[in-house]
Symmetry: C2
Subunit: 201 residues, 2 copies
Amino acid sequence: MAGEDTTARRRGRRPGGQDTRTALIEAARAVFGESGFDGATVRAIATRAGVDAAMVNHWFGSKEGLFAQAVLKLPFEPHELLAELTDGPDDEFGERIVRTFLTRWDGAGGHVFQALVRSVAGHEQAAQVLRSFFQSFFTKVIGGIGSDRVELRTSLCASQLVGMGMVRYVAQFEPMASSEIEPLVTAIAPTVQRYLTGDID
Amino acid sequence: MAGEDTTARRRGRRPGGQDTRTALIEAARAVFGESGFDGATVRAIATRAGVDAAMVNHWFGSKEGLFAQAVLKLPFEPHELLAELTDGPDDEFGERIVRTFLTRWDGAGGHVFQALVRSVAGHEQAAQVLRSFFQSFFTKVIGGIGSDRVELRTSLCASQLVGMGMVRYVAQFEPMASSEIEPLVTAIAPTVQRYLTGDID
DNA sequence: GTCTATACAACGATAGAC
DNA sequence: GTCTATCGTTGTATAGAC
């Protein structure tokens, strides 16, 4: 992450920093809901929240980060996650992705993933914004390893990860629902690794 | 319901054939909702519908078939599907599963899968019944090939299949959403095949 | 007559009481 | 272990629609 709350009192605009963050999240939900991800602008969200547009980057790292936490309620910050995933050898990429996915969502609690699925399944709006967000994010993740067919590989990885979340957190099939993380990494990482760098046709 | 049947139970054809089917579906939704899949009995459902238990087999092939059409609204009959999947060499099992999954759901239309996901994500009840149904069904599918760790393999297969459906029908990530079936079979079948018969630890 | 939706009986499996 | 009750399922005779 960037800084903690070192700039909170600098010009005394708002005494409590958390209020800015909360206001941004509420404004973001409204604006993203009205305009979609592409249609919503950081400036419009910040204006509605009554704060400066720079606060978006300060609190959420990016427009995507704000979207992730406000609308999708993802339990992580995309930029930070990107750095975590890309740090390591390419042939352990699948392993890192699966382990990180499970660790983060386990930490957040199954109901968070469940809520995400419900909103995506229920509202075409949410599906659309998630789609552009996920594709943009995962393309960055995959882009660095120089494989071809980036879009298809992205879809394939998404299918295995999303399915893993569905089985573990939503449908709660045993033994996957109660399993430790590492056995699942062992079983599933080769799939993701193949989707990333292997032969897919 | 098909009427309170004030007439004494007579053998033979009752006027209004479709009414029995409809009555069974309505009764099944009620009983499955109250008791879950295992707790609900065919006889209880038939009694509530005011017809004989044998009508379940006549109209839906099995208890699972009734559940599939009444609660999950699946576009296929489990027994028929089981026969289709198990007919062929074991080393093409993954291929058949992926192709059949996509063919059936494509035929039904994406909104049907979407509705299934929504009901499973929304109601713990539906998740529970789907869980026992799916495990029972897939255990039969996998049971014939004699692999170990049947439950884990079932979960893994389910994760890839459900994820594929989520990406193609719900989130609609390109290119997976618009792809022809066969390229997806080529890309994903090896994953399912490995989950079924390969090394997973 | 044929066709089929229906009811009833019975089978094998399974779970629990004793 | 034995007995019993109940489960899902199957076979079959029958009644009504055609």
